[in-house]
């Protein structure tokens, strides 16, 4: 067995026998709630559930669709695909994005590819294998019915995108090329050079714009959703701010879909776009939508390190670099500022090769990330000192260049080397690259059932904004798959079952729920503009990011998380008393936009820490130092934590309520991973 007992937790190494742990690290921070369950997935064999649900979900007569309206927030893969598809079906769709065009949503930055169980390579792939790999990759913390469906519809996505004209890579025979990605043993990843996300998003964007021309979809660009309207227990609209004029608008509809992306920017520095935020999801959370597993964060080991305190975002480089690059740091702290080429071989520590001789530089993302953190925390990091610490390790291609020749290395990695050189000003053919981990994706998100409906009736959530498919960790090339699966092939079927109850009673502009939502938005804006303190919004965001990265990042401990909660609470108080937002409410005001987002990040950050504190196990991207094997690997505790933690907002200053959804696997057996 690889799961060595953790001395601080329990003396029982078995995962079969129930453990009775009477300590709950988070006990002072939450209120236990009743269990919840997904009631929408049909029972029966897993490969029949989606067919059954599609059949049982009620239909809406085409003539009635024109009378039903849908609001969709966000135009990434999950939002644009849903808006296009529901527009084609004949519903009245309003699509919102904060950018100046739907085409700019951050799905566009995904590099690697999109998985689909086409088995074009005849290498043993199947829907079941993609399902299995995804559940295993998620460390058995996802809901199996949802994941099976994802694998099932993956093949339709490729058909749809090809028909739209997405220029996937092809072989000389004119058929689609595939590659293997993310450590799986089959070639199931479809790609468009290193810009797959861009090409898929442009495909969805074009389908969306086609519906704009057809009159079924209206786009609201440079509009930010600031509140959800929940009238008589149902989501019935949103309050949005026109970011150019500052006008606060009420948009009513029969159903609301959030496809508003992930919240990695709670860490300030991440690979997310500058504008990515949690506000749409958080405002829904405050109105009753449960937030599930918020602490599950994916940290990517090969990003370009921070170069100074001015840094505004981090850039990812493909993990494929670890196939040929060797990772090291100086053995002597005194060498850290030296030119790496002058450090002799004997004074270098190839620490991954040393600690993990069988996997070496190819250990999984989380292990590689944590190992780099330990080296830098130990004072052996390299690169510029930022806030007194050098956070970087070398990724050295000197051996690869000597072995394969410079041309071969350029052929394989040329575009990445160019990107690195452009950003750092250093030539990686001559000087070792420097890398450091960065926040990349969040698996947590709003809780949804099998229909992708949240705990607020009439509020559906798709893509990265929901929690459903990736468990505690996401496989490479699966984010694009999930976004498009949700938008093209899942939501359009499940939402009709809800809409079949229509037509719905009209909500009046002076309905108390509308008045309350508008007032809430106006009060918040008024508040930020009148604090008139001394610190900029960005400075608070940066400080919050430091806290999150330090205590709720790659490694989490009980002590650190409790400290983080205190720090976040006092920083939030300070923000509310001392933030400085200039300008007016009725104009384009980027500081004001950021103030609202950062205010919501404070609340989210606290909940992430509470969630991480409650989950005293290590699984996927969540690593609790108290729960590891002797080799430093993540140690799960299936007997205690095989559940989704769904958090209910209980009011400002009140403890959140924890509802647990037990994870039951019928089609797959839970196993512990090992990299021995």
């Amino acid at each position: 067995m690889t799961d060595m007992p953790d001395t601080t937790l329990t003396s029982d190494p078995s995962h079969d026998a129930p453990l009775h742990v009477d300590t709950d690290d988070a006990v002072d921070y939450y209120t236990p709630g009743s269990p919840i369950a997904d009631t929408k997935a049909p029972t029966g064999p897993i490969d029949e559930r989606w067919q059954t649900r599609k059949f049982e979900a009620r239909l809406v007569n085409p003539a009635n669709r024109r009378k039903l309206s849908i609001i969709i927030v966000g135009t990434g893969l999950a939002g644009a695909s849903a808006a296009a598809t529901l527009g084609e079906a004949g519903y009245v769709v309003k699509s919102f994005c904060y950018q100046d065009s739907p085409r700019r949503a951050h799905s566009i930055a995904a590099q690697g590819g999109i998985n689909a169980a086409k088995n074009y390579k005849e290498d043993g792939d199947s829907v079941h294998r993609l399902f299995y790999d995804t559940v295993k990759g998620g460390d058995y913390r996802s809901r199996e019915s949802n994941v099976y469906r994802l694998a099932e519809v993956s093949t339709n996505i490729i058909d749809q995108c090809v028909a739209q004209g997405v220029p996937f890579a092809r072989e000389y025979g004119g058929l689609l090329d595939n590659r293997s990605f993310g450590g799986v043993q089959v070639s199931r990843t479809f790609y468009a050079r290193g810009q797959t996300g861009q090409q898929l998003l442009i495909g969805a964007y074009q389908a969306l714009e086609r519906q704009v021309a057809a009159g079924t979809v209206t786009t609201y660009t440079r509009h930010e959703m600031l509140e959800v309207i929940v009238a008589d227990g149902k989501a019935r609209g949103i309050i949005a701010r026109d970011m150019v004029t500052g006008e606060i608008q009420t948009h009513l509809a029969d159903v609301v879909v959030l496809a508003s992306g992930g919240y990695g920017n709670v860490f300030y520095l991440s690979t997310n776009a500058m504008g990515c935020n949690v506000t749409a999801a958080w405002r829904a959370h405050r109105k009753g939508a449960y937030m599930a597993n918020p602490c599950y964060t994916q940290i990517h080991p090969t990003c370009i390190p921070v170069s100074g305190s001015h840094q505004s975002k981090l850039t990812l480089m493909s993990e494929s670099l670890r196939n040929d690059g060797r990772i090291w740091v100086p053995k002597n702290k005194a060498d850290c500022a030296k030119d790496p080429r002058e450090i002799p071989e004997a004074d270098r520590d190839y620490y991954l090769e040393r600690i993990y001789p069988s996997f070496g530089n190819l250990v999984p993302r989380d292990i590689a990330s944590r190992a780099a953190k330990y080296q830098c925390d130990d004072g052996r990091g390299v690169g510029p000192e930022v806030d007194g610490v050098r956070r970087g390790v070398y990724l050295d291609f000197a051996d690869a260049i000597a072995r394969l020749g410079r041309d071969a290395v350029e052929e394989k990695y040329g575009n990445l080397f160019d990107m690195y050189a452009r950003i750092t000003g250093e030539n990686p053919y001559e000087v070792p690259m420097r890398i450091y981990p960065a926040v990349h994706y969040v698996m947590g998100g709003l809780w949804v059932d099998y229909d992708l409906q949240s705990s607020i009736p009439g509020l559906f959530v798709t893509g990265e904004a929901n929690f459903s498919d990736h468990g505690a960790n996401r496989l490479g090339a699966s984010a694009l798959m999930q976004g498009l699966a949700d938008g093209y092939f899942v939501l359009p079927h499940t939402i009709r079952d809800y809409l079949a109850d229509g037509p719905f009673e009209q909500v009046a502009d002076d309905h108390p729920a509308v008045v309350e939502a508008r007032a809430s938005v106006e009060q918040r804006i008024e508040h930020y503009l009148t604090v008139n303190g001394t610190r900029s919004v960005d400075s608070y965001h940066r400080e919050l990011g430091h806290i999150m990265w330090e205590y709720c990042g790659m490694e989490r401990t009980e002590e650190g998380l409790k400290k983080a909660i205190d720090l976040i609470r006092s920083l939030k108080d300070d923000f509310n008393r001392n933030v400085k937002v200039l300008g007016t409410a009725d104009s384009l005001n980027q500081s004001l936009e950021k103030a609202g987002r950062v205010a919501d990040f404070f609340e989210l950050g606290e909940l992430m820490c509470i969630d991480a504190l409650n989950r005293r196990e290590s699984c996927g991207g969540h690593f609790r130092a108290e729960s590891q094997t002797e080799d430093g690997e993540a140690l799960r505790h299936d007997d205690q934590y095989a559940y989704v933690a769904a958090w209910e907002f209980a009011g400002d200053g009140e403890k959140p309520v924890l509802h647990k959804e037990d994870l039951v696997y019928t089609a797959i057996e839970m196993k512990q991973r090992s990299y021995k």
Binding site: D100, I108, A109, D159, G174, Q198, Q199, A273
Partner: protein, 247 residues
């Protein structure tokens, strides 16, 4: 580094703007151009002056949201997006002029922020293949020769930033349009709507107030994705063919 910045300030679309001069100290050569503006904005905020509005989102050169005229060049002196331009391309003591995109079809909303909605409206007029979700045939039923697929990809990398328009003395969006027409025209899936696509997109282009192309080539020189000039030849060929077909 110490820099002097001359920046276009304009409160809103309805009010005239003008150039303002700012000094910014402590600029590191590792900063991106936009991070340098972030630093300036922090300084302005501290002094109680309204920060400068400018667009950016992904800051990794792919979303197309950023775009500034820097010393008269779209995206500045290097062939890349503004967000990927770094301060090591400038020298200590330099004066840098920063303006929004120059084009009547891209009205200024505030300071350096412009409205590029015209690009979306051009796409609405045919920049797509009409295929409803669920009606697609099996992906391998459509074979695409590798050279056509590669060419389609190369021109599909357009990020819609608008640098081509900003750089063009005529304010033409022909490179943007030609890239989309070539992308879809290279593929078998794109043939059915090939004629109507070019005719309708060109009509919308002209309606938006973009200028005509006179083959100057500033567009392709400024394009951060290096979209080649010959997509405009393709655009013209497709237009001629469509007109011959009676469109």
């Amino acid at each position: 580094m110490k820099l002097t910045l001359k920046i276009w300030r304009q409160p809103d679309a309805a009010t005239d703007g003008s150039m303002h001069t700012y000094d910014v100290d402590d600029v590191s050569e590792d900063m991106s151009f936009l991070e340098m503006l972030d630093v300036l904005n922090e300084q302005l905020n501290a002094k109680g002056e309204d920060p400068i509005a400018f667009d950016s989102d992904c800051r990794e050169g792919i979303c197309g949201m950023c775009g500034l005229m820097i010393n008269g060049e779209a995206h500045g002196p290097v062939t890349t997006t503004t967000c990927q331009l770094h301060m090591r391309s400038f020298t200590d003591g330099e004066t840098i002029t920063i303006e929004p995109w120059r084009s009547d079809a891209f009205p200024v909303l505030k300071d350096l922020v412009v409205d590029r909605g015209a690009f979306d409206r051009i796409i609405q007029q045919g920049g797509y293949i009409s295929v409803n979700t669920g009606s697609a045939p099996e992906a391998h039923s459509i074979q695409v020769p590798k050279d056509a697929a590669d060419r389609a990809f190369d021109v599909a990398t357009c990020i819609g930033c608008g640098a081509c328009v900003a750089a063009c003395p005529n304010g033409s969006a022909s490179l943007f349009m030609g890239a989309k027409i070539t992308h879809l025209g290279e593929l078998p899936q794109g043939q059915a709507e090939r004629d109507s696509r070019v005719v309708n997109m060109v009509a919308q282009h002209d309606h938006e107030g973009f200028g005509g192309c006179t083959n100057i080539g500033e567009c392709t020189a400024a394009c951060p994705k290096e979209i080649p000039l010959d997509v405009i030849s393709q655009l013209n060929r497709d237009l001629r063919t469509a007109l011959k077909h009676g469109h």
